[in-house]
Symmetry: C2
């Protein structure tokens, strides 16, 4: 039973992102800039049964150790995520996602008149507020479905 | 070793799409309309070592048996894919992707003046030709990177 529940096998080296909100795995990949094209070995389990979350996603990225700042952006879509850094099949570091104060260049402002939406060389920048994120340039607030505004195509 | 190479564990019921061209797993999900939001259990291995393909992707969709016509569209991006229908951990049917003659409603025509790109209620339709696909309406041909024209957002 437990073998069947594992879904995605252990990795030798890399980062295991566990307890991702169910159905958010593809958005995790988008935030991390992973689409498979550059040959990264990645395993994903979507909507795996979880005692804690009901259903969860899990993402294992081989041969890449994510930094605290990289994983903190994940808190916007997967606030319960836990991060394990793995070397030679052993967990050598555990991180928790922490809500960042500012998110730069990951989200796209939904306000079409925002300077970041024009042809100016201005990267998007959002302040993380209690109930969402607020564009640092135009003040537009994104509260729900932040993943829909991922600017990572 | 073989256990570590499996990457994605066996499923009880559903469809296993194996020998997918390396890096194309997310496009397979897009074609099948799977983004995790509707709660489907899906396991994915990206860029797994493969004797035959060098690197391959594998997608396991639980509790859903894909039909021949559903998998045929996958031939456009994963011509070597093999499909196993699984019931109670046993393979009960094997399918191969076959190049369809026509693809309807999956791809988006890159010609901005094409009628399918306007506000008309016209679904996209492409004839599959030797070196790509040709829009049945305007004749525009897409040869390379067909995945970039997936109309499945």
């Amino acid at each position: 039973m437990s073998e069947h529940e594992l879904r995605v096998s252990k990795i030798r080296n890399g980062t295991v992102i566990d307890h991702v909100t169910g159905g958010q795995a593809l958005n995790v990949l988008a935030i991390l800039g992973i689409d498979g094209a550059s040959g990264e070995s990645v395993s994903i389990g979507m909507n795996v049964p979880s005692d804690r979350l009901g259903k969860k996603d899990i993402v294992k990225v081989e041969d890449r150790e994510l930094s605290q700042s990289e994983v903190d952006v994940l808190s916007l879509i997967a606030p319960e995520a836990t991060i394990n850094i793995v070397r030679d099949y052993e967990v050598v570091d555990k991180l928790r996602v922490e809500r960042p104060e500012v998110v730069t260049g990951v989200l796209s402002c939904p306000n079409r008149n925002c300077i970041t939406q024009g042809n100016e060389p201005v990267a998007s920048k959002f302040d993380v507020v209690a109930d969402g994120v607020r564009c640092s340039y135009c003040g537009e607030i994104v509260r729900e479905d932040i993943a829909a505004h991922l600017d990572v195509a």
